[in-house]
């Protein structure tokens, strides 16, 4: 391994050899042991590693609970559409009762006046239909 390659590994993956590509790790560690001049670069990288390692935001328990609660009433898979108000899938989506989702999916693209059969939602002013058919990249938004 050339010294330039070792520098590149440190600059890209940091100071911890565990993060270096496995195929190059042993050679890089040997070269590192033979190159004391690299220690300053390594320490510099280690400082940034520590800052990144500390970035470990807690996951709010309340969010977990809300999401789990939302799974209690799932829309039928074959519907392949979820009604939401506004752009994207805001929290309203997980609060929508099954009946609203079914109704919204069946009349996608029109305004629904809902009587609140299963829950507190009384009206949806606008419907976006997110078609979730072919894969993770396929988000199709059809507004009104």
């Amino acid at each position: 391994m050339q010294r330039a390659r070792l520098q590149r590994l440190i600059d890209a993956y940091g100071a911890d050899p565990a993060r270096w590509p496995a195929a190059e790790r042993d050679a890089a560690k040997r070269l590192l042991a033979e190159t004391p001049a690299m220690s300053a670069r390594l320490e510099d990288a280690a400082r940034l590693d520590r800052a990144l390692d500390d970035f470990n935001p807690a996951v709010p328990k309340a969010a977990q609970a809300r999401l789990r609660q939302g799974w209690a009433n799932l829309p039928p898979q074959e519907t392949a559409a979820v009604a939401i108000a506004g752009a994207g899938l805001p929290r309203l989506a997980r609060m929508l009762p099954r009946a609203v989702m079914l109704a919204a999916a069946s009349v996608a693209g029109i305004v629904i006046g809902h009587s609140g059969i299963d829950g507190p939602v009384t009206a949806i002013a606008r419907i976006d239909v997110v078609t979730l058919i072919s894969g993770p990249e396929s988000i199709l938004l059809m507004e009104e």
Partner: protein
Amino acid sequence: MQEADDHSLMAEVADGNERAFRTLAGRHLDWALRLAGRLTGNAADAEDVVQEAMLRVWINAPRWRPDAGFRTWFYRVVVNLALDWRRRKPFRPLSDAGDPVDPAPDPQAALSRGQTDKLVTAAIAELPERQRVAVVLTYHEGLSNAEVAALLDVSVGAVEGLLVRARRALRERLAPALKE
């Protein structure tokens, strides 16, 4: 072993088994929320992203094929949704999250940690999109460069380039904190 379990669960989810879905979704909930939080920079947005990602699991299960493994596929779903979310909404810092994070046992440590989190969150949020994803997946998710390359549809060399540029930018932005 878990991957095989995931595959079995997905087969059941494909048949409309809600219990299997809840097991599968619960298994991946924590890391998905954490990943989405790092990519969106906000816990409330992360919750919405994960909600949508889980719905995709449920709805797409009948058409899902275990070519790359469930976790790899789900990584891609969460990453793409988080990026899409960021494009549609301005960055909101962690402090704007709807729920307080769980309290740490040591308030002083929590304060220090919170400050570091804010600095790093802001620095990562300012990175260009692909650099941000490369950093989070490499350093925080522990994915190999080949896995990151596959997720981003780029070469391993390109991932290295993203990481080099990202680390250079982070070092500059975090310079005051790194000197401490």
